[in-house]
Symmetry: C2
Subunit: 250 residues, 2 copies
């Protein structure tokens, strides 16, 4: 799929400019080389919408609190984009973030892509367009190989004992392994707390990578699963296939 | 998770009104009970953004053609939202639809939620907010249990021989089963054509359900996977677990 992406122009340099120059006022809409334009302008803001550095702790706090208002996808979208709504104004300010709640539970409960990662995709999509895909790719890898949650809320709504490495970006696998380890049901306070903290972790990681990116210091770490395996895939092949992993057709 | 949703108000009746009243001009921004407001207004348009009926064939045609420009997620987002950009104007008109390309290949190639379904989630999220989740739930079920693709492009870019039922909303499983049946590689013309046509099918189905919904005729057909299984999940348990499917903890 990589070769098909070549038509998309990289706009990182232009976006870095936009991010650096955007003022910190609550309703900033001044144009920066036409990249960020006010909602009252007759033409839409240029895409991608750009970025201004965010305190990762702030992103985590927002995501944690908002999990309890709209679950995982909404949590990460708001953790990343609410600070931009405040620091950059339009077009972020008019985006109805509750539109993205549907990502919860791996898409309305189907257990597929963890909604926190759907949220990271949506946020990086608006911020960086095609460039954001590398960042999302790295956030997904981080999610799969890290003992989560790490985030410690200032005022926890429940206590949890365990962390786990999911080896998978799928909600079902990630939360299922954790529920088994913790010994709790899906509809339990600790499970909700785990997902709220994990959403905060994804928001924190996304913002940390975006902060590096806007500073020109970001370097993609993960390659292409499709290129390596000849099919779109996770990296935990044996977890479903057992010893009968199909040979990749490349 | 259902009980957590009760705080979200249903706005279907209000949206049906908005959909029925929205004029068909290219740049319609007149307020309808404040639901659809122009981008030039000082406050954001009320959310959800509402809907105006779309010809399913048109949605399919747009999705098919746009798959070749931005893949599956972009295909379905544009199949549903480009007609609304034209018929309802703002706030749809200013939404940069390329922001959603990242959903391709189950999220930048990780093989999770088929990007066509991510696109359906994004579109129904803007259109119907919380109400849209029922529609997405039904679209996902349709995807998993239907022999796809069905869509026949007027001018096919490649020929394909097979259809398949995925039993799963995961890109990896869905496209993997089809590739095996068709005997083709991921980076092949027929595979691309299959995904383009399948994206058209998802756009068509989404629009058909939304058309019913805006007419007040839509009735959700699929229940809650989480309620039934005690965890977020697909319905093809044995495909990964074999005979060792864990007992649901409800």
């Amino acid at each position: 799929m990589q070769e098909e992406k070549k038509n998309c122009l990289s706009r990182r340099d232009a976006l870095i400019g936009a991010g650096k120059l955007a003022a910190g006022a609550a309703i900033v809409t001044a144009g920066v080389n036409g990249l960020i334009t006010p909602a009252s302008a007759s033409k839409p803001a240029a895409f991608p919408w750009g970025y201004k550095k965010i305190d990762p702790q702030l992103a985590g706090n927002i995501a944690y609190e908002n999990w309890y208002k709209g679950f995982c996808c909404y949590a990460v979208v708001t953790g990343v984009l609410v600070p931009l709504q405040k620091s950059m104004g339009e077009p972020y300010a008019s985006l109805p973030l509750m539109a993205f709640k549907w990502g919860h539970g791996g898409a309305v409960g189907w257990g597929t892509l963890c909604g926190s990662l759907t949220g990271a995709g949506i946020a990086t999509g608006f911020i960086a367009g095609h460039e954001g895909e590398k960042i999302l790719n790295d956030v997904i890898l981080y999610y799969t190989e890290t003992d989560l949650p790490i985030f410690k809320p200032a005022a926890p709504k429940a206590q949890i004992k365990n962390v786990n490495t999911s080896d998978s970006p799928l909600c079902h696998i990630s939360v299922g392994k954790w529920m088994k380890k913790e010994g709790v049901k899906f509809f339990s306070g600790p499970r909700k707390e785990r997902c709220a903290r994990l959403s905060a972790d994804v928001a924190v990681k996304t913002v940390m990578l975006l902060n590096d990116w806007v500073d020109g210091k970001y370097k993609a770490s993960h390659g292409s699963n499709v290129r390596d395996h000849g099919i779109t895939t996770q990296l935990n092949c044996m977890e479903c296939h057992g010893d009968d992993v199909p040979e990749p057709i490349i």
